[in-house]
């Protein structure tokens, strides 16, 4: 009778041989993403467009200052355009994450969790919805009704963006909770890990104040435990959810 070691090795050999008969299928879905517009080019285009509108508007309205007596006010930088991109620091465009604090690195996280957290932060900071949605695992939810990662985009487009909330949540302390299947989930904020509202320590409560007003916290407290925005990454680095409510 062969040993377990031998059987595993034989099975592995056969599996590798099986895979070797398969030449890579054409990566048809790997379409080259459109090149990101350069910040200065976007700025120049937007500036020119705004300049044209401001110049032409008086003429179109019949109140044009053909004599040049009325000049448009100096233009400011369009709010949707920032300066040249600096990877990981300055976003090319603005979104709900603009101005949100940058969560600092956290010591002691397993490497896969730390890597996913850092990638989420970077994508959110840069308002890169595609990259952010791509980070979400297949089972990722944004609501308990089955909300998908695409909600991150629709919220932004609907003016109720949550990327800023996501960054503020990830800036808080975290806790490790059991996933009920023998695994662990790293959850931000740590307040979520306490079974009752009363057990949340002052420092964790203080963190929540960066996200909610006192009135909002009063409302959340009526749930009995923290049920506000939270996000979880499992120990393998799989981003599992970004939800609120229960």
């Amino acid at each position: 009778m062969r040993t377990v070691e031998e059987r595993l090795r034989d099975a592995a050999t056969e599996t590798r041989e099986y895979a070797a008969t398969h030449w890579p299928t054409p990566p048809t879905r790997m379409v080259t993403p459109a090149p990101r517009p350069r910040g200065w080019l976007v700025f120049a285009t937007a500036f020119a467009a705004v300049l044209v509108v401001f110049t032409a508007l008086p003429w179109l309205l019949g109140t044009g200052a053909r004599d040049g007596a009325s000049q448009p006010e100096p233009l400011t930088t369009p709010t949707t355009v920032a300066g040249p991109s600096t990877v990981g620091t300055v976003p090319d465009i603005e979104c709900s994450a603009s101005g949100a604090p940058v969560p600092p690195p956290v010591d002691g996280l397993p490497a896969p969790v730390a890597e996913t957290r850092a990638a989420i932060i970077e994508a959110a900071q840069r308002c890169e919805l595609d990259a952010l949605i791509d980070l979400a695992g297949p089972g990722f939810i944004t609501s308990f009704g089955g909300g998908e990662a695409e909600n991150l985009r629709s919220w932004e487009e609907g003016g109720e963006g949550r990327l800023g909330t996501l960054l503020r949540v990830l800036a808080m302390s975290h806790a490790v909770v059991d996933d009920g299947q023998g695994g662990e989930i790293y959850v931000w904020p740590s307040a979520y890990a306490y079974p009752s509202w009363e057990e949340i320590p002052p420092e964790a409560m203080e963190e929540l104040s960066s996200l909610y007003t006192d009135d909002e916290l009063d409302l959340i407290s009526q749930l009995g435990s923290y049920g506000g925005w939270r996000t979880g990454i499992d120990e393998t680095g799989d981003w599992m959810y970004f939800v609120a409510g229960d």
Binding site: L8, A11, A12, E14, Y18, A20, T25, M30
Partner: protein
């Protein structure tokens, strides 16, 4: 080069001051595809699912290739993503199977492996997740202890422990199957 591959996005150079290193996504894809597929087959025992997992994993790599290509070990990153996706798939399948127990679970489209090899991976699939991953990375991907530790985000000692426990756990089921066949 196929039009579906990137050009300058798939090419990068190493950090300043080090020997220039050029990594093409196309080359990376072709070098790693089969190895990754064999790992996915062992983890899923479903040819279509394995191909999908591999494809999705490469799509992830492709989207952030400018960053991934500069990692110290892009191969480890690739395998970690595959493992995560395989875990997510199992979790999702578990929910789906529970939801459709009345009509029976979906039947996977098995790869053309021998019954014995299929049985080995079925048994490996019943191991705890970390043990399962260590076994597949060690035997199928033929990674060293340190490389497996890099993929799994743990120490090489922990990898050895997972492997030891996996072999112990497999002794019974694999021996029993052999006796039945004999």
């Amino acid at each position: 080069m196929s039009g579906t591959f990137t050009n300058n996005q798939g090419v990068t150079t190493a950090k300043r001051g080090t020997t220039a290193r050029v990594i093409s996504f196309e080359v990376f894809y072709r070098e790693q595809y089969r190895s990754l597929l064999s790992v996915a087959v062992a983890l899923t025992m479903d040819r279509a699912a394995a191909e999908d997992l591999v494809q999705e994993t490469f799509i992830s790599a492709h989207r952030r290739w400018d960053r991934v290509s500069q990692y110290d070990n892009p191969k480890a990153w690739l395998r970690r993503v595959l493992m995560n996706r395989a875990t997510s798939r199992r979790r999702r399948l578990g929910s789906e199977v529970r939801a459709v127990t009345k009509v029976g679970p979906p039947q996977p489209m098995g790869p053309d492996l021998s019954p014995e090899t299929s049985e080995v991976w079925s048994e490996v699939g019943r191991l705890p997740r970390r043990q399962r991953q260590a076994v597949v990375l060690h035997y199928v991907a033929q990674l060293s202890m340190n490389e497996i530790a890099d993929v799994m985000g743990c120490s090489s000692g922990a990898v050895k422990s997972h492997l030891h426990r996996a072999r112990e756990a497999l002794k019974g089921p694999l021996a029993a199957w052999k006796e039945e066949e004999a």
